[in-house]
């Protein structure tokens, strides 16, 4: 009898899972592909012996970052990432490489002799952070519950909710940021111009 009840319960659960289609599996597949590509590309950025290739591998990491934002349902941040990083910062890096006349082919003198220290620090950092994260968050699921309230206020529109957030509580940091950008612009021009 109890086995029958359990069987019915399981069937009910199965039916519930089938009735509510989730994007868990496609989400996992997309995340795994993007994560592997990003880690490989990041390793190539810090190990390749060609400066231009490092800048091109950086494009993979930054683009993957944008896709990760999309998986986290942060569309506005993702679009900003694509525009600012892929559109501007990578081009700036390529200009920097050309203006400093770095060796455009392979070159052996891009690394110093601190590789052992670098690997030690990296592995140690990764170990400590992962231990803390796995202990703290274990297998917590992403529910996006924080988006529901603000989205209901903003007419079910997440970008509008983000705009409400920037232009009312965060307005002063936003304005300070524009002053900072102006200062950085003037500073870069003053530094780089020839007298």
């Amino acid at each position: 009898m109890s086995a029958l009840v359990a069987g019915i319960g399981q069937a009910g659960l199965l039916a519930q899972e089938l009735a509510e289609p989730t994007f868990a599996v496609p989400g996992w597949v997309a995340f795994s592909l993007v994560a592997v590509a990003m880690v490989v590309a990041a390793l190539r950025v810090v190990t390749t012996d060609n400066v231009v290739h490092a800048a091109l591998w950086l494009i993979v990491v930054l683009g993957g970052n944008g896709i990760i934002y999309l998986l986290l349902q942060a569309e506005f941040v993702a679009v900003t990432q694509f525009l600012v990083y892929l559109g501007a910062i990578v081009v700036l890096f390529l200009f920097g490489i050309m203006l400093t006349r770095a060796p455009l082919g392979r070159s052996d003198d891009l690394d110093n002799n601190q590789r052992a220290i670098g690997i030690t620090v990296g592995v140690l950092l990764l170990g400590v952070i992962s231990y803390a994260l796995i202990r703290t968050f274990k297998d917590d699921k992403l529910y996006f519950q924080a988006y529901d309230g603000v989205m209901a206020q903003a007419g079910n529109n997440r970008t509008r909710a983000l705009a409400n957030e920037i232009f009312s509580p965060q307005l002063i940091p936003f304005e300070v940021l524009s002053v900072l950008l102006t200062a950085a612009l003037i500073g870069a021009i003053v530094l780089a111009r020839r007298d």
């Binding site: 996992w28 930054l62 770095a102 992962s130 917590d140 957030e165 920037i166 940021l177 021009i189 530094l191």
Partner: protein
């Protein structure tokens, strides 16, 4: 999807970026490694914003803007170093060493 998968990916990218900052000696490559670190932090901010409200996304946008300013000024400094010393080797800039 789990929260931890995003946080662990960010931790891996952060560690790789730190390795790059320590090991690289070309100034432009050091700046690229710093970009890796800032992007890892941004993944964390956006992942936590799914739990705690949109502040995290706003902060990620601020970090993107500050990173753009940082790259502009950083590349200007590296350009100036190149003009003065005909090389962008960070390890040769040791005048402050006694």
């Amino acid at each position: 999807m789990l929260l931890n998968q995003f946080l662990l990916l960010a931790a891996v990218l952060f560690a790789i970026g730190t390795y790059g900052v320590i090991v690289r000696k070309n100034g432009v490559l050091v700046l690229m490694s710093i970009e890796l670190i800032l992007n890892a932090v941004n993944i964390n901010l956006v992942a936590f914003s799914t739990m705690h409200g949109l502040d995290g996304q706003v902060f990620a946008l601020f970090v993107i803007a500050v990173a753009a300013a940082e790259v502009g000024v950083g590349l200007a400094i590296i350009l100036l170093i190149y003009r003065n010393r005909r090389s962008v080797d960070i390890d040769q800039l040791d005048e402050l060493k006694g």
